[in-house]
């Protein structure tokens, strides 16, 4: 019997902040005291709050230790695990507050979240099927085994589940089409390609709760009459693949996968395919080509995969998070499930919340929550109390929404109306130091690079748009460029073969719609107010704020900063490479972004 269960976050974010070292020290400290066998240490999935990693959650005490360092562990072991006294200084403390928070339910980051899809992530050992079963896992499957295909489809339709991979297509309807399509064989495919370059939801679900995906796919198989499935997962996600493989083996051992599942006569074989690093392979027809071993280029639809998919058989393809919702629907029942969310967007959505908010991490919120609640309540507001500028939702296919859209509810239709999309869950908050033109350029260079080249509008059109954006960010823009961008955008949207091209202009269109003034400033005034476009600003030190602490001179690689100790310093704009190291280092905020050539006005 274990006295305590220690859940150490072993997801990428915490690994990067050192959770492996923390675990090693933890093992050692417990062993040194001869009490190692009283503790169960689990490298768990992501509990979401990456910002404060490494994290250890202690059960049954319900204690959430965060921002740990290997050096803190001896104290926690001694004071808490031996003497029974919680170590307060390693609990979570909200900024500007003296009060420490002991557990999930008290931490503001978690208070507006609803854990449906992430209910197990960080709370169970993802490598143990028993723990999944103990938390109600595979109960939905047993229910589905007693149902007719049509009834399962109906249940998912009633629940109002819409695809979480981007477009938000009603999943029940897709299942119905695949069920009705004639075919001697049918396939289920799970899209775990996660192409959005600012997102990691699907990866976290696979790493934290792999059995939920297997169960969701098994239920989908029953619903459409399929006996084989594929999970198409990026090769860059080795841990997710490893966990999934392990989960498949366990499920096979337990008779939950393979032949004659639970004695029902239902057979199901699940395969994993590793993707090889191409954004377009997230598009469903390209993904199917890739599973077949070909170059991952999309083909026109119709026929849709539901009619003609993998090796020409009817195929139902859904996103990881979509499948993760399925067991929940069957377990709770459609009506109970549909209590969360809005009229046309049911359930929750998982977002990878990142950028300039205080609390970055993985969050699961009810549909209909406002952007403001996500940024300010869950995200804890913008870092260093700076001004919010925009939030980018939906990655390269999505858009940027400005401050006056903060009250927008997060549901499929409202987001689309505002020019963004729900997307797969990337959500990046930006402050006054993010340049909107540069951001549009960034996304376009991504899509341009990832365009498979098959259709001309996408291949050539995005290249033209990118060239214009590069010109503007380099200070060579012309006012008529803005019209050209709009024209190109609309023809690329209308005439591209697949969703990649059809959505590629979105980041440009939304920034033009909401931040045209920044484009104009780049073009007309040759000024980048955010200090990003290198040709369009300079740094200068404000003599009023500089206290001559010399911190900046130490980090300047080119010795561009001079000045006596305790006297205001100066930047030599000729030498400065604008790497920004000094700005990050200055505690007085004395280093200002100025117009090119105005340095004498500031530094004197």
């Amino acid at each position: 019997m274990f006295e305590k269960h220690l859940m150490v976050c072993g997801a990428t974010g915490c690994l990067a902040s050192g959770s492996k070292d923390v675990t090693e020290v933890l093992e050692k400290e417990l062993s040194d005291r001869g009490i190692r066998d009283k503790f169960r240490i689990v490298m768990a999935g992501c509990p979401g709050f990456c910002e404060v990693g490494p994290i250890i959650v202690v059960y049954p005490d319900e204690v959430f230790y965060c921002r740990l360092d290997p050096e803190n562990i001896a104290e926690i072991v001694e004071q808490h695990f031996v003497n029974g006294e919680i170590v307060e200084k390693h609990l979570f403390k909200p900024p500007k507050s003296k009060e420490v928070k002991r557990f999930y339910d008290e931490i503001p980051f978690y208070s507006k979240q609803v854990f449906n899809v992430l209910r197990n992530s960080g709370r169970v050992n993802p490598e143990s099927i028993d723990e999944y079963i103990m938390r109600g896992g595979y109960r939905a499957l047993t229910r589905a085994l007693d149902m007719k295909s049509e009834d399962i489809v109906e249940e998912v339709k009633t629940a109002g589940l819409r695809g979480r991979g981007g477009a938000g297509f009603p999943s029940g309807l897709k299942w119905k089409f695949t069920l009705q399509a004639p075919g001697t064989k049918k396939y289920i495919v799970c899209n775990a390609d996660e192409g959005d370059p600012g997102a990691f939801m699907d990866r976290s679900i696979l790493e934290g709760d792999p059995h939920a995906i297997i169960e969701g796919m098994l239920i989908a198989g029953l619903a459409i009459g399929s006996d084989e499935g594929y999970v198409y997962c990026r090769a860059e996600y080795p841990l997710a693949i490893q966990r999934l493989k392990m989960a498949i083996e366990q499920a096979e051992e337990y008779g939950l996968l393979g032949e004659n599942i639970l004695g029902s006569g239902y057979n199901y074989k699940l395969n994993i395919k590793e993707g090889a690093g191409a954004f377009v392979c997230g598009e469903e027809t390209a993904l199917l080509a890739s599973i077949e071993g070909k170059r991952g280029v999309p083909r026109p639809r119709p026929p849709f995969p539901a009619q003609k998919g993998l090796w020409d058989y009817p195929t139902c393809i859904n996103n990881v998070e979509t499948f993760a919702n399925v067991p929940l629907i069957l377990r709770l029942g459609a009506e109970e499930y549909a209590k969360v969310g809005t009229e046309n967007s049911k359930g929750t959505k998982v977002f990878a919340l990142a950028g300039k908010v205080n609390n970055t991490g993985l969050v699961e919120v009810p549909m209909g929550i406002t952007i403001k609640e996500i940024v300010y309540d869950v995200g804890g507001g913008i870092q260093k109390d700076r001004a919010f500028k925009a939030v980018q939702i939906g990655g390269p296919s999505g858009g940027c929404l400005p401050e006056d859209k903060l009250d927008l509810p997060v549901d499929y239709d409202s987001l689309t109306q505002a020019g963004a999309i729900m997307g797969s869950g990337g959500m990046i908050a930006m402050d006054e130091f993010t340049c909107m033109v540069d951001l549009a350029r960034y996304f376009l260079s991504f899509t341009q690079n990832e365009s498979c080249g098959k259709c001309t509008p996408c291949r050539e059109g995005t290249k033209r748009m990118l060239e214009i954006l590069e010109r503007i960010t380099e200070g060579e823009g012309k006012l008529e460029d803005l019209d050209t961008l709009r024209d190109l955008a609309s023809s690329i949207k209308d005439s591209s073969l697949c969703g990649l091209g059809q959505t590629a202009p979105n980041p440009v269109l939304t920034t033009l719609r909401y931040f045209e003034h920044e484009y104009r400033e780049h073009i007309e005034e040759k000024y980048c107010r955010s200090g990003i476009c290198k040709e369009l600003f300079e740094y200068a030190i404000d003599p009023e704020s500089c206290n001559g602490c010399r911190a900046c001179t130490k980090v300047c690689a080119v010795d561009a900063i001079s000045g006596e100790k305790k006297e205001p310093h100066k930047i030599d704009v000729e030498l400065c490479t604008k790497c920004g190291s000094c700005v990050d280092r200055c505690r007085q905020d004395a280093i200002k972004i100025i117009r090119v050539g105005s340095e004498a006005d500031v530094q004197g």
Binding site: C50, G195, G296, K356, T577
Partner: protein, 160 residues
């Protein structure tokens, strides 16, 4: 850079049999075969691809078509240490390009290139799931987060 910089190491083509044989007669295998070949050799040497294509009875041009399509495959040998700078959205807005600029200044290579002594190869990745620590890079899968340009030299120095 790369291919002609230094004499290429000898290639043991017997390994191709080990990699390819388990796949013979199966469908949809081109990508896994290339992945396993690359795991064996560190990259995709031309003679190995030619031999694999012969064994699988597919035109070598088709195999090249697939290998060049996917970012994961490398046709030239790579360095002992692989630096991957995250160019995901969160890292981008937290200054990822300043990080790769500094690496370029120090090592004299840009993305996709390998140093002449094969000590480093510089690559880019999209989000590695550590956005909270942006900007981030990995070296041989060790993550380094909350980077600033002035920390780069020291980090590079710790890899031989």
């Amino acid at each position: 850079m790369g291919e002609e910089a230094t004499a290429l190491p000898e290639i043991d083509l017997d390994k191709v049999d080990e990699v390819v044989d388990p796949f013979l007669g199966k469908k949809g295998i081109m990508i896994p075969v290339l992945q396993n070949l690359q795991e064996e050799y560190g990259y995709l040497p031309r003679p190995a691809m030619e031999k694999a294509a012969r064994k699988l009875k597919i035109p070598v041009s088709k195999m090249y078509g697939v290998a060049t399509f996917y970012a994961q495959f490398h046709l030239a040998p790579r360095g002992r240490n692989i630096i991957r700078v995250c160019k995901g959205t969160a890292c981008h807005i937290q200054g990822a390009s300043k990080i790769s600029d500094r690496i370029t200044e120090i090592l004299g290579i840009t993305t996709g290139e390998t140093t002449e002594d094969y000590r480093f190869t510089l690559e880019e990745v999209a989000c590695i799931g550590a956005c909270a620590l942006a900007p981030v890079m990995t070296i041989n899968d060790n993550p380094h987060g909350r980077l600033t340009p002035d920390r780069i030299q020291e980090i590079l120095d710790s890899y031989e």
